[in-house]
């Protein structure tokens, strides 16, 4: 596979390490009254779509960016690649 890195251009997937569903970005608030339940869902419940899947890849043999890659699990077509940091900030994550 080839991942079109937003900063570095097309790179072979062998340079990357795969983590999993991009929902791992959405770490719940630890002070939420339902934190226990929310953490359980965050860590253990995943969708397994036959189709578009947003997932986290780490450019370990490269610039060490975490990327959110939108990949079709049926065809392996990659339709979008974003810096995970930008995605996290757009989703309201800060510090």
């Amino acid at each position: 596979m080839i991942i079109n890195h937003p900063l570095l251009g097309p790179r072979d997937a062998a340079e990357f390490v795969y983590l999993g569903d991009a929902s791992l970005i959405d770490r719940p608030d630890w002070e939420d009254p339902d934190a226990a339940e929310k953490y359980y869902e965050y860590l253990y419940l995943r969708d397994n779509p036959a189709g578009l899947h947003r997932e986290l890849w780490f450019h370990e043999q490269g610039d060490r960016s975490w990327l959110v890659v939108t990949r079709n699990t049926l065809t392996h077509e990659i339709t979008n690649v974003e810096l995970a940091r930008d995605v996290a900030k757009a989703q309201g994550r800060s510090r």
């Binding site: 791992l24 970005i25 002070e31």
Partner: protein, 1006 residues
């Protein structure tokens, strides 16, 4: 070369070797012309017989030229088999090539390029090829039909291991491996192009010319050593010249283009995601030796577009005894005659259901070969005049005669016709294989009665020529040109203006005809796996009707040829049984590789020590000089212990290293521990989030132990982190987890808290670090550390850290931390000073009798101190289990804090890490033993925990251990049993504090 005659076929190859080009042994089936160099003779050895061929020959064509028809025995019934095809689809003619460690089994004689001195042998027989003892299997064939193994070897169960398995193993497989390491080298390569053209037949050459002339970067790959494909095998003309001449001209034009790379002997074997193709180039297989060069190269081709011009494969018709040597595919017979100037027989008959088969009769007849019959099941007019041949329209071949080779054919209408070669054509199957490697499913095309590529093709790939069902030469040329033009245009190239190559559209009409129902003899479908028409019918009868079931039940298409000549025929017979059409019955799809790829090519240079290269620490060469014994830890090679003269057992060395360190001073290379440089205004807050314990209040110049959890609350890693400045920390990780922890930290930084002002750099390789431990460690360091730095206990207390200089100005970092439990330091210098540093430390320590110690002594001392390490941090162990539950801060957010609160992880009777010692101090503990109450039977129910680490403590003089046991921390003094069912030991142990040595930690602070 000197001239030396070969007297008899029994001469050994060595005698014949060096035999001159002018010395000829008669080749009874050699014709004139063709694309072989008749002027030069090549000697080769087949089953101990010395034979001759010519440059341009394959092993198969040379064998046929010499009249060799029996070349192997079949897989299951050990039936005599001959050469069946002229290409990589060959099911029968599998031979062992070369000798000794170079021996390679199951090579297809049809693709082996002949060279002088080639040695080949037939395979799969016991006794001799002519008289195979295992041919008795054929007599019992009625018992060995499809599903035989499933039905027979079921009972009695006790027979399986002792009788059935050895029996099956003994008769399984075809060729033999040498059993020696492969002496050849293999390589991997990477290439990029705009357009990849797969196959250099008429469509491929035409496509490559169009793309090349447009200026695109082109790779043209072909499995053959001579580009041209069927152009070399046919008598059809292109642009008024012979096909072979046109191909040669096209190749010359391509070779002159800088933007075209022509790769012969290269099989594109797989299509992978996003335009990546796998290809195997056989670089030196056509030479007597590889001469030190890589024998084969596994290429990864990165392409923007690809045009598949893989041609088509002829399929047989099934009839009784259709596996007899001499029965061949019609297109192959024609190829041997036209390209290799060989007739596979002296009297050739043709059996065809299509017009193409008639060209075999016509071409052979034109070359003066006697054609005895043309049998065509179609009730139409003969397609050609074949002088002297019996023309039987509306008839079929129902059987064959001849013991180890064909002598006569039997007609369905009755009567026999003499023939020593029968050329069979059941039509042509487009080579759709690569179009299926993603999700593509081929579609049935009624007019050619064959599967063609479906619509769902791999991205960027189009198909041209016979592979796309365009079976005539004119269509192939045009198709290749058109697809290539489309490809380059879509990439923004402007196709060059030129006149496309022209050829006549030859007739390819066909009426489907799959198998001859008349006759009682077995009719073969899959020659390599010995699957007959009867087996397919049996599969149907027993309910294995889906294509995938048919395949697995009968093993149809599961041999090394992957059923290239068999699959569609098998499917057609199943369709007849079910009464459905072929597309309704199913489709055969294909996975990579197109043809076998040696494991050696996949391994490339990653063999032996290069499979997983070691990383060496800066003191490695020094340690080698000391005679150290090394051990792999993570990606590193570390000194395990340093034996001294007279020490015969590792324990002697390790005990001495521990005693000398605790007695005076020892030095250990700890460079391999992961180091992460953490800087930024929010560095402290970041550490607070990734460690369970707090780091924000750590003073500058201080170091602290930290435990890191995964989000599920299990311990991930531990280590010390030093605060070198207000916004500057240095974290250490365990050796094995260095990469994973760094990845995790970057995840936290980029994905969870993107606005924290913090940056990370892995500096593991940047610093050489040594632990200096023991009561004399400070005295030793004073001789190294530059005098302006005060390292007295008052100025530089336990857990202090500082940036200093050593040896007169060399930058260094000093940490007063201890894993051994002694007064100890870790000193780090830039890695390039690492070798000098160990030598300087050892020299300075001479007066204190300093000792280098390895990972074993390190391990002994950490067990004596009760420090958890890799044996304990298994990924299933929580902070609570480690007795560090209270360290999980409730006042701040950190990774793993929430899920650590789960009730199951906070059970009263949870596992706790404690120490163990044998009640009988003379006994040795074993790691992995499970704790069982006294008097109980060892079982899952009575299991209370397990021993993780054990060591002999030189200080205490007996074996000690660490382990996890339920309620461990409340059970000091309890006696339980440590039961090791694998090592067969069962000994009583006492639960004790894990701090065996200096439990108050007094030595650390002096």
């Amino acid at each position: 070369m000197t001239d030396k005659p070969i007297n008899a076929p029994t001469a050994t190859l060595r005698e014949a070797h060096g035999g001159g080009s002018a010395t000829y042994v008669e080749q009874p089936n050699r014709l004139a012309g063709g694309l072989v160099d008749h002027g030069r003779a090549l000697n080769f050895d087949f089953d101990g017989r010395v034979l001759q061929g010519h440059p341009g020959d394959t092993l198969a064509s040379a064998l046929l030229a010499n009249g060799v028809r029996l070349v192997g025995r079949s897989f299951k019934y050990h039936r005599p088999r001959g050469i069946f095809t002229a290409g990589s689809e060959e099911p029968n003619a599998l031979v062992e090539l070369r000798r000794g460690a170079h021996q390679e089994p199951n090579t297809r004689a049809t693709t082996v390029e002949l060279f002088d001195g080639l040695e080949a042998g037939s395979q799969n027989y016991r006794g001799s090829l002519g008289f195979d003892l295992l041919a008795a299997n054929d007599l019992f064939s009625s018992f060995l039909s499809a599903g035989f193994y499933y039905k027979t070897f079921m009972w009695p169960q006790a027979f399986w291991e002792k009788v059935y398995e050895p029996l099956i193993r003994n008769s399984a497989g075809l060729g033999r491996l040498s059993g020696e390491p492969d002496p050849d080298s293999y390589d991997k390569g990477f290439l990029h192009c705009d357009v990849l053209v797969i196959g250099a037949g008429p469509a491929g050459l035409s496509a490559a010319l169009a793309a090349g002339r447009a200026g695109a970067r082109v790779i043209l790959a072909d499995e053959d050593f001579r580009p041209g494909g069927r152009l070399n095998a046919e008598t059809l003309e292109v642009d008024g010249m012979s096909g072979a001449d046109w191909a040669e001209r096209a190749v010359a034009e391509l070779a002159a283009m800088d933007n075209v790379r022509l790769m012969t002997r290269t099989t594109v074997h797989g299509v992978f995601d996003h335009g990546i193709f796998g290809a195997l180039e056989r670089c030196t297989d056509h030479l007597p030796t590889s001469g030190g060069k890589p024998r084969q190269v596994l290429w990864r081709l990165y392409t923007k577009r690809a045009v598949l011009c893989a041609g088509a494969t002829e399929r047989p018709i099934a009839f009784g005894d259709n596996d007899r040597p001499g029965v061949m595919l019609a297109g192959a017979v024609r190829a041997y005659a036209n390209r290799w100037a060989v007739t596979p027989g002296q009297r050739v008959a043709v059996f065809t259901n299509n017009d193409d088969g008639w060209r075999t009769a016509a071409d052979l007849s034109a070359r003066g070969v006697e054609v005895t019959a043309v049998v065509d099941p179609r009730n139409t007019q003969p397609r050609a005049e074949i002088p002297g041949a019996a023309i039987r329209m509306g008839d079929a071949v129902a059987g064959t005669r001849g013991r180890k080779g064909l002598k006569q054919i039997e007609l369905a209408s009755g009567g026999t016709i003499p023939a020593d070669c029968l050329a069979v054509s059941g039509g042509w199957n487009p080579n759709v294989h690569l179009t299926c490697h993603q999700r593509g499913r081929p579609e049935w095309r009624e007019d050619i009665a064959a599967f063609v590529p479906g619509k769902d093709l791999p991205v960027g790939l189009t198909v041209a020529g016979a592979a796309n069902g365009s079976l005539s030469l004119a269509a192939a040329l045009l198709d290749g040109e058109t697809r290539a033009r489309e490809a380059v245009e879509s990439l923004g190239f402007k196709p060059a203006k030129h006149t496309p190559a022209k050829a006549e559209d030859e007739a390819v009409e066909l009426t489907p005809f799959w198998h001859v129902k008349k006759g009682r003899a077995r009719a073969w479908v899959d020659h390599q796996n010995d699957v007959t028409v009867k087996d397919v019918k049996l599969a149907h009868q027993e309910g294995f009707r889906a294509v995938e079931h048919l395949k697995r039940y009968t093993t149809l298409g599961m041999a090394t040829d992957q059923g290239k000549t068999a699959n569609v025929l098998g499917l057609a017979i199943m369709a007849e049984c079910t009464g459905k059409s072929i597309p309704e019955t199913g489709t055969t799809i294909f996975r990579p590789p197109y043809s076998p790829v040696p494991i050696g090519a996949f391994a490339g240079r990653s063999r032996g020590k290069d499979f997983r290269p070691f990383r060496l620490t800066p003191s490695h060469h020094w340690a080698e000089e000391q005679g150290a014994v090394f051990v792999e830890t993570g990606a590193w090679l570390r000194a395990q212990w340093f034996p001294r003269p007279g020490e015969t057992h590792w324990r002697q060395s390790v005990d001495r290293e521990v005693e000398m360190t605790r007695g005076s001073v020892g030095i250990c290379d700890v460079t391999t521990l992961g180091k992460v440089d953490i800087q930024g205004r929010d560095a402290a807050e970041f550490l607070n989030k990734v460690y369970i314990n707090g780091f924000a209040k750590l003073a500058v110049g201080k170091t602290r132990y930290g435990l890191m959890l995964r989000e599920d609350g299990m311990a991930m890693d531990d280590g010390t982190t030093a605060r070198l400045g207000e916004t500057h920390y240095v974290m250490t990780t365990t050796t094995a987890n260095a990469g994973g922890v760094f990845r995790h930290l970057e995840f936290c930084r980029q994905c969870l808290w993107p606005d924290l002002d913090v940056h990370l750099i892995s500096t593991t390789d940047g610093w050489a670090q040594y632990a200096v431990a023991g009561p004399n460690s400070r005295n030793l360091l004073r001789k190294i550390v530059d005098p302006e730095f005060d390292i007295s206990n008052e100025a530089f207390p336990f857990m202090a850290c500082a940036e200093i200089t050593v040896c007169g100005g060399t930058p260094a970092r000093l940490f007063r931390i201890s894993f051994s439990g002694e007064l100890a330091y870790e000193i780090a210098v830039p890695a390039r000073y690492g070798d000098s540093m160990i030598r300087a430390l050892m020299a300075a320590g001479e007066e204190f009798d300093v000792v280098p110690y390895g990972t074993e002594a390190l391990g002994v001392m950490r067990i004596e101190k009760g420090h958890a390490a890799g044996n304990e941090l298994t990924g299933q162990i929580s902070a609570q289990n480690l007795g560090m539950g209270r360290m999980v801060s409730k006042k701040k957010d950190c990774i793993g804090n929430k899920l650590s609160e789960r009730p199951e992880m906070n059970r009263e009777d949870g596992l706790r890490m404690v120490g163990f010692r044998p009640v009988d101090r003379s006994r040795s503990l074993t790691a992995g033993a499970h704790f069982i109450p006294r008097g109980a039977v060892a079982s899952m129910e009575t299991d209370e925990g397990w021993m993780t680490s054990v060591a002999y403590s030189p200080e205490l003089g007996h074996s000690i251990g660490l382990g996890f046991i339920k309620r461990g921390s409340e059970r000091m003094g309890d006696i339980v049993r440590a039961v090791d069912l694998v090592g067969d030991s069962d000994i009583e142990v006492e639960i004790v504090s894990p701090h065996f040595v200096d439990p108050e930690g007094e030595r650390l602070r002096v």
